[in-house]
């Protein structure tokens, strides 16, 4: 599903190297010290930056040089996921097509998705009238409406409190099952939330140094990595 | 902030003080136009020369052009510092007289005047004629009369100055009126057909002309002298017209609020001495008002055969109407 073959990416003097193979419907969490290259990995997959060498295969297609809009990927950031001068409805509608006029069926689709994320009737609100969690829900709704099989999350819930964060994780899990999504999420929390994921990647200095189930981190042979992460 | 203010006021009062320290000698204050005192103007030499013989301090205040000088004194009224006003011309004279700012200069009319012009309130110090200048390389067959220029069979492109904002422009207005009388409006419309542009002042017009924007530019018949003296360039000539040329006389006068009237009169007399007259010829590029030795370059330019002018009272009476006539004629 997600296949990175010998990816090399150079940022000034910083050389990063990634090789990865993730099956469909897997849920992957990426952790590691800041500045290690976690967000870069997501940007490579999303197509905001292009590798110096290597190939990216998504959904059995070689997308190494494909533009972000043509990749089977949707993405959620920590901030600025919503256009603050557009309403909730308009923000979501942009996931269907880059225009603001909606047909009746599209309108219904949006209403449905709002129900699913628990924001029924919030159509005409502006982002500044929403709480942090609600904003990320709206952004998630837009990702879902894009119907792209891969969902990338770049620390989307870091600004939320713990209860809300777990709530959101549960919601993500639910929609991933419901929509058959492959999930990759950057996080800096190493608590119970790791158990929501089927696989954990640890990145240090531009390389993947750990690639297994989250439970494996507690094994003895992985002590150095666990210490690096601060267990 | 306070510190800065304080500092400024100290500088300010220091400079005031330094001016006071100078005040032991009597001071004669002359108001004149800018170019009088500039690096290339005659002012600096005249100031030195006069101070060497008057045992006084000569303070020259310069402002824009003749009109600005006159207006400044009008604004200042009886509180003015000016003792002498230098740089008005015959077209502005009546305005100044009506403002009642001057006293008669009481200087006897010299017998060796270069041109026939004298006035009791204003003493002339140099003069010239308005004329159109052309480049002999580009205009092989220049116009020989104002009529020829206005009819413009050759299609010469003309630049002149706005009579509302510039002295030569005003001169041309009177010149046209003198030659065409009641038909001036038609003549202006004729001129408008080949006018490249009408500029605010002489500088803009002459600059455009030198850039090659036009064939003929309104200036003075002595302008070629400057080209000869500055860069030995003989390519520019004045077109001499059969109808004659409108005359401009530059004048100086004594302000009636002056406390130094004798000194002021001494200064005016000094202006008529041969060495100062030569300064005017060289640096103002105008004819000296009395017959005197002038640079050779003057001999190499076309001279004017006939001079034209209006009486100052006529000008005062009609100037506004004539400007309106010009305005509406060329706005059509």
């Amino acid at each position: 599903m997600i296949e990175l073959q010998k990816i090399e990416y150079h940022y000034n003097d910083f050389k990063m190297h990634f090789a990865l193979n993730i099956a469909a419907k897997e849920r992957v969490v990426i952790v590691g010290p800041s500045g290690a290259g976690k967000s870069t990995l997501l940007s490579l997959i999303a197509g905001f930056i292009f590798p110096n060498s290597g190939q990216i295969i998504l959904n059995q297609q070689n997308v190494t040089t494909t533009l972000p809009g043509k990749r089977p990927v949707s993405m959620l950031f920590q901030h600025n996921n919503l256009f603050s001068h557009l309403t909730v409805e308009q923000n979501i509608a942009l996931g269907i097509k880059p225009a603001l006029k909606l047909s009746r069926t599209e309108q219904t689709t949006i209403d449905d998705i709002l129900v699913r994320i628990g924001l029924e009737g919030f159509n005409q609100r502006y982002p500044e009238q929403l709480s942090g969690g609600q904003r990320q829900r709206v952004a998630l709704a837009r990702c879902l409406i894009q119907h792209r099989p891969i969902l990338l999350l770049d620390e989307p819930f870091s600004a939320l409190d713990q209860a809300l964060r777990f709530e959101m994780l549960a919601l993500i899990n639910q929609v991933c099952s419901e929509f058959n999504l492959t999930l990759m999420m950057v996080s800096h929390y190493l608590d119970n939330s790791l158990n929501h994921f089927s696989r954990c990647l640890v990145i240090e200095n531009g390389k993947i140094i750990f690639n297994s189930t989250p439970n494996q981190l507690k094994q003895n042979e992985n002590q150095r990595i666990a210490r690096l992460l601060g267990f | 902030m306070f510190c800065k203010n304080f500092l400024l006021s100290v500088i300010f009062s220091l400079s005031l003080f330094s001016q006071l320290a100078n005040a032991e000698l009597p001071t004669l204050t002359v108001y004149s136009y800018n170019s009088f005192m500039s690096q290339w103007g005659p002012g600096e030499v005249i100031k030195k020369g006069f101070e060497a013989q008057c045992n006084c301090h000569l303070d020259v205040v310069t402002l824009g052009d003749g009109v600005s000088v006159l207006n400044r004194i009008r604004l200042e009224g009886d509180k003015t510092n000016a003792d002498v006003i230098l740089g008005l011309d015959n077209n502005l004279l009546e305005q100044a007289k009506q403002a009642n700012l001057l006293i008669p200069h009481q200087i006897a009319k010299p017998d060796n005047l270069n041109t026939n012009w004298w006035d009791d309130s204003f003493m002339p110090y140099d003069f010239g004629y308005f004329a159109f200048i052309y480049n002999i390389d580009k205009v092989k067959n220049p116009p020989h009369s104002l009529h020829e220029l206005v009819d413009n069979k050759a299609g010469w492109k003309i630049i002149y100055q706005d009579p509302r904002t510039s002295t030569p422009g005003l001169g041309l207005l009177f010149w046209m009126k003198k030659v065409y009388g009641d038909n001036a409006a038609d003549a202006w419309q004729q001129v408008a057909k080949n006018t490249v542009t009408v500029t605010k002042g002489w500088s803009e017009a002459y600059g455009m002309f030198l850039k090659g924007e036009a064939d003929l530019v309104l200036s003075y018949n002595t302008s070629p002298v400057a080209h000869i003296m500055n860069e030995n360039d003989h390519h520019y000539q004045a077109a001499i017209f059969d109808e004659g040329h409108y005359r401009q006389v530059e004048v100086a006068g004594i302000i009636k609020y002056s406390q130094e009237i004798d000194l002021a009169r001494q200064f005016l007399r000094y202006l008529l001495t041969p060495e100062v007259q030569r300064q005017f010829a060289e640096k103002n590029v105008m004819y000296p008002i009395i017959k005197t030795d002038i640079p050779n370059a003057f001999a190499q330019i076309n001279s004017v055969n006939k001079s034209l002018d209006f009486k100052p009272e006529e000008i005062e009476k009609h100037q506004k109407a004539w400007i309106r006539e010009w305005q509406s004629a060329i706005s059509k």
Binding site: G69, H85, P98, Y126 | N34, R74
Partner: protein, 526 residues
């Protein structure tokens, strides 16, 4: 809660401006009434002038803005070497002395200009005449569009990087991106910009006189100049009021239309992400940039080439150096005054906006831009009437010139800094409140530290603006304060035409270097 203390700086700066302008106008009225010359006329010619003034100003504004948006968009779409320099140097046309602008434009578009020469080489008949309405519009667009363009470009770049990336993922076309993301940001700048350009064109003077081709295309400012020269001071004051009214009405209209609606969160990010652009669009952009760049720089380059050609070391006289020194001193003084007034006004303005007092904020900004609508001739005469007792004192004249130039530069400082200052104040508002950071500490820690480079840039801008100023100096100065533009006019009036081009070149180089030096980023990262 809005405290009086936070209102004080702005109110005092605004009242200072109002007092200066008001007392100048009143002094003229009083003098005119005393002197008994009460001829006033509002005839058809005056109405004709008002209409022509309005018409050309409106056209100039529309043309400048359209080309500015086009060029800014083109610049934001492609990356090339020297782009940063291009954008930094562009606004220089905005501040050149009128005579230099006219000379420059003529050497490109005139009968003997570069364009005519090229046409001759290619055997195309050259029939373009720069005089008349065309010339006025050309000059006004030349003066104003690069400045607007540089400002718009910054705005286009302030779209947050995440939103750009989102837009790429949502498959926005360049047009959709512009419509949905950039336009709402631009929109809040376009109308104030329009008001500024309109006002500058409305009160345009020397350019209209030089390129207008006669009284057919003239402006109210010219009529006022005329009235002052004829000593019809009452008429001048009346026309000045007409001009002020027209400008204020236009600005008021712009402010009315320009409702500041939803807030924008603008982040200043180091990393950048550019939306993928189609190749044909890149070609068009390149074309637009080349045309725009040539339009802006060819007049200046021709001046530079001529200046180097005519340069001789003997021209570096003492007078020239003195003029250079005076220019620099006055430029820095004016910039200081403008900066001080501007920051005082904006301090209050930011706090008004945070407290949702849009009306009051508009009012404050309006007062600050009054100066552009008041004819400099009227202002100078008025101030002179009030203060002529000191008119022989060089230091006093210097201060007065600095004040006038500072006031004239003020609207531009406000334009450059108003939004950034508001954004940064609003962003850290709660934080600074809770940390009890107020007053000078707030200014130093938040405003100055956060916007140092922007402030330096505005300072340089104000300095260059008064470097090129001739008008005020001509009215007050005389030879006691001879600056470079003054020296330049002197040279021309003494038939030293070639030398004057050298002076113009020095003026240009000085302005260039000021803008470049001030922009030098000391905190540059690798």
């Amino acid at each position: 809660m809005l405290k009086f203390k936070s209102l004080l700086p702005g109110i005092s700066a605004a009242s200072l401006i109002l007092i200066i302008l008001g007392s100048a106008l009143i002094a003229i009225w009083r003098f005119a009434l005393q002197s008994g010359n009460v001829a006033i006329y509002l005839d058809s010619y005056v109405l004709h002038i008002v209409w022509i003034t309005f018409y050309q100003a409106l056209l100039s504004t529309i043309l400048s803005l359209t080309s500015a948006i086009l060029m800014a968009k083109a610049l934001s779409l492609i990356e090339f070497k020297g782009k940063r320099l291009l954008i930094k140097l562009m606004p220089i046309t905005f501040i050149l002395p009128a005579l230099v602008v006219v000379t420059g434009l003529l050497s490109v578009y005139g009968q003997q200009g570069v364009l005519a020469y090229l046409c001759q080489l290619l055997h195309i008949p050259f029939s373009f005449s720069i005089y008349g309405l065309k010339g006025i519009l050309l000059a006004h667009v030349f003066l104003n569009f690069p400045y607007a363009c540089a400002l718009f470009y910054q705005t286009l770049n302030s779209v947050p990087i995440e939103q750009r990336q989102l837009a790429a993922q949502l498959n926005f076309s360049t047009f959709t991106f512009f419509k949905l993301l950039e336009w709402p940001l631009l929109r809040r700048q376009i109308l104030p910009m329009a008001a500024l350009i309109f006002m500058l064109c409305f009160s345009s003077f020397a350019i209209v006189l030089a390129l207008g081709g006669g009284p057919k295309y003239t402006t109210l400012e010219v009529a006022i100049y005329q009235a002052v020269r004829d000593f019809d001071l009452l008429q001048a004051a009346l026309l000045a009021c007409v001009q002020l009214l027209c400008c204020v009405a236009f600005i008021g209209l712009m402010q009315k239309i320009n409702k500041t609606g939803t807030k924008f969160s603008v982040t200043f990010s180091d990393t950048n992400y550019r939306l993928p652009t189609a190749n044909w669009l890149k070609v068009i952009c390149m074309f637009v940039i080349i045309i725009g760049g040539l339009f802006i720089f060819s007049p200046m380059i021709t001046i530079l080439i001529q200046g180097i050609f005519f340069f001789r070391t003997s021209l570096l006289t003492f007078m020239l150096l003195q003029a250079l020194l005076f220019s620099i001193v006055i430029a820095f003084g004016s910039a200081m005054i403008a900066m001080l007034l501007g920051l005082l006004l904006l301090w209050t303005n930011s706090r008004l906006l945070i407290n949702q007092q849009h009306q009051l904020s508009n009012c404050l900004m309006l007062i600050a831009s009054f100066i552009l609508a008041i004819p400099s001739m009227v202002l100078a005469s008025g101030l002179f009437l009030l203060l002529f007792g000191y008119s022989n004192n060089t230091v006093f004249i210097c201060l007065l010139i600095m004040l006038c130039n500072g006031l004239i530069a003020l609207p531009f400082i406000l334009k450059n800094l108003a939004m950034p200052l508001y954004d940064i104040t609003a962003r850290y508002w709660q934080l600074t409140q809770s940390l009890n950071i107020k007053g000078v500490a707030h200014f130093y820690l938040v405003d100055f530290k956060g916007l140092k480079s922007k402030m330096l840039m505005s300072f340089a801008f104000a300095a260059v603006l008064s470097l090129g100023d001739f008008g005020v100096i001509a009215l007050f100065g005389g030879q006691s304060v001879a600056t470079l533009p003054y020296y330049l006019y002197q040279q021309i009036s003494h038939y030293h035409y070639q030398e004057s081009i050298v002076t113009a070149t020095i003026l240009l180089l000085l302005s260039f270097s000021l803008l470049v030096v001030m922009d030098y980023d000391r905190t540059s990262k690798n």
